[in-house]
Amino acid sequence: MSDPFLPQKDEIRRRLEGRYVGAVPHNQALGLRVVDYRPEHLSLALPYRLDLVGNPETEVLHGGCITSLIDATCGGAVIMSLAAPRRIATLDLRIDYVRPALPHQEVICGAHCYKVTRHVAFVRAKAHHGDKANPIAAASGTFVIFPDEGRRTEDAVSK
């Protein structure tokens, strides 16, 4: 059975904004916010800020904060795909910068966790300025899903 239990939408929003964006210091430092969410999908926005600029001549955001946005959104999309909260970690993340980002515009990342196995989740994402058809970056990532703490404790007890 591949269809996981899906929590209520309010519960999902609460979990994402509170536990994932709010409780992650670096996501909070970047001012990430939830744009859209549905099962297996998540969109987060990185607001434009002058202190995140990489090249002061073009005033375009640094690739590093776009990497953090994409990593955070992909991880969130994995969490959206799990039946219960689990600890996850990025295994790898590839980002293609397909066209230059524009200055003074927020960057939105939309991520889709298209496959979850027992231990690994696979995600694709695109970053854009509001037009999904005209992305600035395309990414794919894989995440490790750590065993459920409760189940591991039961295993340890049974041994």
């Binding site: 210091p25 909070q28 980002i95 230059p100």
Partner: protein, 145 residues
């Protein structure tokens, strides 16, 4: 100082401070470069806002990507002939182990540095350079002035 002037200053002095000063994001992240035995070493100074998982605790994966991309660019600027900033074509980051809440260092290697494109491997580490916390492969477009 303008970014291009900072690149000229770096090549003359071997000091990355004016480059860090010229890049707002580098200041925000505490990312800078230094020359160690003639090689460029990137450093991301630990700060509480770099944490991705407060329970473990571990640094945010994106911050390691940012350090490695920056270190590759620092090394390209140090060895380059133009003052134009290389453009990142793509970057692949492999996360090997959790990064502890302390400084992270990074070392870059040119797999191939052509006229237009540079292929760079970057290793990020904390206590032991032989035990990296993350490695990256990145391609850069070398823009002419």
């Amino acid at each position: 100082m303008r970014l291009r002037d900072a690149v000229v200053d770096l090549r003359q002095t071997g000091d990355f401070r004016s480059l860090q000063e010229a890049i707002p994001y580098a200041r925000f992240m505490g990312i800078s470069g230094e020359l160690v035995d003639g090689d460029v070493i990137g450093r991301m100074r630990y700060s509480d806002h770099l944490v991705g998982n407060a329970n473990v605790p571990a640094l945010h994966g994106g911050t390691l990507g940012a350090l490695m991309e920056s270190t590759a660019i620092f090394k390209l600027l140090w060895h380059g002939e133009t003052t134009a900033i290389p453009k990142t074509i793509n970057i692949t980051v492999e996360y090997l182990r959790g990064a502890k809440p302390q400084d992270v260092l990074a070392r870059a290697e040119f797999t191939r540095r052509g006229r237009r494109v540079a292929n760079v491997r970057v290793f990020a580490y904390q206590d032991d350079p032989d035990s990296p916390v993350a490695v990256a492969t990145a391609h850069f477009l070398l823009v002419q002035d």
